[in-house]
Symmetry: C4
Subunit: 236 residues, 4 copies
């Protein structure tokens, strides 16, 4: 089995720290990346707060979310949501799961997260809500089995972001940078939308506007990453 | 009289600093822990802002909230709420009292704090509100007597969290880590719930969902604590 | 003319820094203290952001708000509000003027700031609103003359806090520590009240509850000050 | 071609860092200043997060937003909004474009940003909203052509601040300090107004009050700048 590129592992560690620094995750939540040498594997930290992750904590999982090798540590109980999404979404290179507070209201009410500005144009294709009761009945809310992971991946379908009722949200992207960008601007969008909705009718981006910006957005992905990375370095 | 374990005293000091760092307490509020060698005693700081507590400030109290020994300093005037809860709740190992702003609205209106996500499943058994006027009539709002402490403990009954009208909240747990976790996620839940309630009807965790997560939650208590402890160390 | 005690000047400087650190003032706003040797004089910084004040910036003013000596620098244009309050309120030892955002809504709407918890019991005697148009007609909103200062002092009457429409707020106290405490907990109260009012009817402290806590509050004034002072020292 | 004064370049760099530190811009947004030797040129950073800008990144553009010299780097795609405003507004010396979250609700609803206190008296002449669809139909929302820049400048007319639907805001001033001041207090005003509007009818500054303060405001522009500059230096 080929080892992942050192740069990819490093980018995953930086992403963990950025997500914590930007308040997308607290002690809970996780980010994974598809293995650059083997599309049937992915990399993710062992069970640990993202802000504390180092190179020694990165583990390789197959798409059944079994670790190779098993380093004898505890793993995130919800790793199945990562594996099951990678199985059905060959376009996805990185998956983030979080409980960021501004997103939660959109999973427990009928309000829909919608793109309020160009920065969150990736929301323009829709944001479904996963109701775990549909598949699992009464549960402890966690995606702790391949079956629940599969149900989540099905509900996500071809979208970029999904709300999880009474739990949090999951976002995917074609790169670590894109997934982190989507997590950060989903939260930003949620904060703005919560305020805007109280002022009366809101004009969201038209689907065509969102689509046009999305085509362009890849061009500016490096600019915020450079800043977010500089910010975590300042703290060390 | 046996001395408490050094580890327990240290954990109590760390908890004081975490509660301040996480904005659960400001200069006011306090945390206690039951003595590990004597269930009829508890440990708590003398009258001091939690963020400034050191080992020299930890005092042992009996369940009448009398210090042993009296170190000749001033003590928290509301220590009776700790003593009276320990008397009637043998399962409780740690008690926190705070005035965290997001919790206050739930004590002065008819709105009920309810579990909006798995992280605050401990709210699923209900959150009573203590109205000091019922027992004390017109007071200065403080739990400054054993009688008022007893009335609060009675209202708390077998719950984990209680709101105090025009004052703050009190939370209990089977360990320092659990009590701190409950304080932090009560506040998080309050912030999310305040936003969600404005969007229309809210789906809270079903009692069964809350119960299922609560059974599991002990397994993840060490993860946030490691992060919170790292955060206070960074600041020193 | 006797010099003020060094301790008083130092406390005034610390208060300036605390007010900035606690976000009560930004570059604007000011705090003064009555001269300890001459009740007809008061001390305040020259025209400067409170967060930058040092001992060299403290100036002595008479109650007409004329500097003695004039150090040849610019002074706060609104110093008259300080002088005029000291004239008619012999009980007042310190005056703070600020534009803290959470207070502003209570000066431009019919909503009244009311004590939502014991920490802000000092609001229990009422919070009047100063409408500058009543005395000054169309102005630039500033209290730039003795006449406007006098009108503000009259509206304040025997209260502790006053809102100023389209401008900010002013609070007074029997010591620097008390005035700073009132500024900080007025803002805290405003934040909590803004949230609580959206949940339906709010139970505020009864006048008697507020009065009972106010009698007691002097006993706990040193505790938050010790923390706030420690926090500004950490930053240096 | 004459070089710009070193002091001006330095002030522009400081302004970039202040705007980031005060959360007016994140990785996106930009500030420009008219060339002090040539009114038909302006200075702005190359494509970079404002918080990371250094002297080497400052580029000179003509009013067609063509760089002189072209340093072979990427430039902000929206630089045309700067050039087109300088063309028609000889009074404008500095232009800021940002996506500050509190401003966004005022661009996507019928709510109008209005001066809630003297600090934002510059809003008193009105805040128009730019609807890009009027000129551009379905776009990616960006001001990426001289035509769109011209349309924005026309909508801005003689005002100080303009909202951009689904995008952000732009503010102008007679100096860098004034433009930065307007950006910061536009955001502050938005935050306060969002809260005040929920409490019922709001009394905004009368046009005459706003005008009277605006005449005076130049006198206090140096005070906040000194503080903001001190704050960014502390972080280094």
């Amino acid at each position: 089995m080929s080892k992942p590129a050192k740069e990819l592992v490093n980018e995953l560690i930086v992403a963990n720290h950025i997500l914590f620094d930007q308040k997308i995750v607290d002690a809970f939540g996780h980010i994974s990346v598809r293995h650059d040498k083997d599309p049937n594997r992915y990399l993710m930290s062992r069970h640990l707060a993202p802000g504390l992750v180092t190179a020694d904590d990165i583990v390789t999982f197959d798409l059944e979310s079994v670790p190779h090798p098993d380093i004898g540590k505890r793993y995130y109980s919800e790793r199945f949501l990562h594996g099951e999404i990678y199985k059905v979404r060959p376009d996805v290179v990185s998956v983030i799961h979080c409980h960021a507070p501004p997103l939660l209201p959109f999973g427990v009410t009928k309000a829909q997260l919608q793109p309020i500005y160009h920065m969150s144009a990736f929301l323009g294709t829709g944001v479904p809500t996963f109701e775990i009761r549909e598949k699992g009945g009464m549960t402890n809310m966690l995606i702790r089995t391949p079956e629940l992971g599969k149900a989540l991946a099905e509900k996500l379908a071809d979208k970029n972001v999904i709300m999880m009722r009474g739990h949090g949200a999951t976002m995917v992207g074609p790169s670590i940078k894109a997934a982190v960008y989507r997590a950060i601007y989903s939260v930003q969008n949620a904060q703005i939308q919560l305020e805007a909705m109280r002022l009366g009718e809101v004009t969201y981006l038209a689907p065509e506007e969102a689509e046009l910006y999305e085509k362009y957005s890849g061009e500016v992905m490096a600019r915020p990453w450079a800043l977010w990375e500089a910010e975590i370095k300042e703290q060390r």
